[in-house]
């Protein structure tokens, strides 16, 4: 019902342009994640979709209708702000009821019911009568989330909605969000700085880099086939190493170790080799065909360890389950399925 289309969206603050022409089509009911480095323009893009920010160029249309200059209250959206923007003079429950009152949705009793439900969803029903200033940071964030989901808008915009929650709560909230999304078929646009969150929740991931869309696609596609160095670097926990691709085809490292490449690799010359962390396996150093590396640092992460290894004069990192346990200083081998290797331009 409400496809969202952005065409050549540009935005400048004073003389600095922060969005350089964004083209984006979002299907009705889609769950889209916006991913990108800090300061790349995610919030600005959301604000433009919400109608809070005037564009410097380009058009926004919803369901085929140009809404570029439609004021936000006329768009059927709900937005959760990165800074929450809770109304300090209202209680928690009043804050959550606010959009319902404003949109005149339902009778007083229905509204109260929906507020209770939304607060239950974020596990804050017991604080309904608190003032905003008396809440902890995470509690405030959850109130903001409840306020965003309480009315059922066509488009739900969430700006880092879970950043201040502990992992447990975060997981539960993710599930709740998914359920709401599936049940109501909302179009949801979700800004997050957590790749796993983006990949696990969304139908599509849009990767922003410095005010431009770097790549977009399904989580699987974008993860397994990053098109640029930035994409692979940013998305996967990937290592990029300079190599020379020679006939074989093989990749030759700076220290003359070689690694077989898939047959499909036809280009030759100086390239970057992309080694995704999870494709690398630590094996005994004397394993056949394994690359040789030395353990530099080991960091305990609980369920796994993070290793920094020196390979051909470069520092690479990977996570390994606790079942693999090597010590800093050890020489180890690294194997990788040639099919998983990707070669990018330098």
């Amino acid at each position: 019902m409400s496809d969202l289309t952005l065409r050549q969206i540009k935005k400048s603050f004073g003389r600095t342009e922060v969005l350089h022409g964004i083209d984006l089509d979002i299907q009705s009911g889609e769950f889209v994640s916006l991913l990108g480095a800090s300061g790349c323009g995610k919030t600005t893009l959301l604000r433009i979709i919400a109608g809070l920010e005037r564009v410097s160029g380009g058009t926004v249309s919803i369901a085929g209708k140009d809404v570029t200059s439609l004021p936000p209250e006329k768009r059927d959206i709900a937005m959760m702000f990165q800074s929450y923007a809770l109304l300090p003079h209202l209680t928690v429950a009043e804050n959550v009821r606010f959009p319902l009152r404003m949109r005149g949705q339902g009778s007083r009793e229905e509204q109260a019911e929906r507020v209770v439900k939304a607060l239950d969803t974020v596990q804050l029903a017991h604080l309904a009568d608190r003032r905003i200033r008396q809440l902890s940071g995470g509690q405030q964030q959850r109130v903001a989330l409840a306020r965003a989901i309480v009315s059922s808008p066509q488009v739900l915009l969430l700006d880092e909605p879970l950043s201040n929650l502990d992992a447990r709560l975060r997981e539960e909230m993710q599930v709740e969000l998914m359920e709401i999304h599936n049940k109501l078929g909302l179009t949801t646009i979700f800004v997050t700085h957590d790749q796993e969150e983006a990949l696990s929740l969304s139908d599509r991931v849009v990767l922003l880099n410095d005010g431009q869309i770097e790549q977009q696609g399904s989580p699987r596609a974008i993860y397994s086939a990053p098109e640029t160095g930035f994409a692979s670097f940013f998305l996967g926990a990937a290592n990029l190493l300079p190599v020379t691709v020679e006939d074989g085809p093989v990749a030759r490292f700076a220290d003359d170790q070689v690694l077989a490449l898939p047959e499909t690799q036809t280009e030759r010359g100086e390239r970057m080799l992309l080694l995704r962390q999870e494709d690398l396996k630590i094996v005994p150093a004397d394993t056949d065909g394994a690359l040789k590396a030395r353990v530099a640092i080991r960091v305990f992460l609980g369920a796994r360890h993070r290793y920094m290894l020196d390979l051909a004069g470069q520092r690479i990192s990977l996570n390994a389950p606790n079942s693999v346990l090597v010590e800093p200083g050890d020489e180890v081998g690294l194997t990788i399925d040639p099919e998983q290797l990707r070669v990018l331009a330098r």
């Binding site: 809070l52 936000p72 209250e73 959206i77 702000f81 923007a85 606010f98 009152r101 404003m102 949109r103």
Partner: protein
């Protein structure tokens, strides 16, 4: 924490408050003293004790009528100035380039009220004939306007711009936004402005002096006239009653509405 204030400073603060109280209240003590004095004059310390002046003030038709007129006028002025001034301040606070408009709205403060009073009287007479309550109302509103605008603007300068935006994304029309988001935010400023407006009107003598007619005698004009010809402690009694009334009203409001709770948000 803010509570972590050095002890000496705490004492200093109390000393300061006491000195300020002295400065603010000393003349009022004189006024109250004079009002219960037996003496015919405004002298201090009071001589004897009598409530005659209260009897006289309350028994005087002129005083009572003037009081009600002033009260009505000040009430209306408070409403009109707060509404018009508040709206203007809100609009101003959203403008990027607002300095010239801001100074324009300040101008009634910079022209001596006598000039405005005479000008207003001339204009009104030539256009509408004899002056009326409305003329006084308009004139007082003009004078009270800058107060509301200044105090409200000051408060809005500190407000979180995201709040109104958030309300917009929640579908709040401009009116609802105004009512539910903007007004609660500028409440302290509006309250101060409204209080000033009331007070300006209630205490305004010059405009009232020139714009009045026989049926339009405000309390300050009445007091002024009384003082000019035969100053006696009646005016002190009237003022004392005002003081008591104010305190009573504030305390009552606090008990009823919990002013503090409201002011705290």
């Amino acid at each position: 924490m803010v509570k972590a204030i050095p002890t000496w400073l705490r004492w200093l603060a109390w000393g300061f408050v006491i000195l300020s109280a002295l400065l603010l209240l000393a003349p009022l003590v004189v006024v109250i003293g004079v009002s219960v004095s037996e003496s015919q004059f405004i002298v201090f310390p009071p001589q004897g004790f009598s409530l005659d002046w209260y009897r006289k003030a309350l028994g005087s038709r002129e005083y009572v009528e003037a009081f009600w007129l002033s009260l009505r006028l000040a009430g209306l002025v408070t409403v009109s100035a707060t509404v018009i001034g508040g709206a203007a301040a809100i609009a101003l606070s959203r403008r990027k380039n607002r300095q010239s408009l801001e100074s324009f709205f300040l101008s009634p403060l910079v022209i001596p009220s006598i000039i405005f009073a005479i000008g207003m009287l001339m204009l009104w007479s030539s256009m509408f004939g004899t002056t009326s309550f409305v003329a006084l109302w308009i004139a007082h509103t003009v004078v009270a306007l800058p107060y509301v605008i200044r105090t409200t603007l000051a408060v809005l300068a500190e407000s979180d711009p995201f709040l109104e935006e958030a309300a917009r994304t929640m579908g709040a029309s401009w009116l609802r936004r105004l009512w539910h988001v903007v007004l609660p935010q500028c409440r302290p400023g509006l309250a101060a402005g409204a209080f000033f407006a009331f007070n300006i009107s209630f205490d305004e003598a010059v405009l009232s002096l020139f714009l009045r007619n026989p049926g339009l005698n405000t309390l300050p004009v009445q007091i002024y006239g009384q003082l000019e010809f035969s100053p006696d402690p009646t005016v002190a009694a009237v003022s004392t009653m005002m003081i008591v009334l104010t305190v009573a009203l504030i305390v009552l409001l606090d008990r009823l509405l919990g002013l503090n709770r409201v002011a705290n948000t």
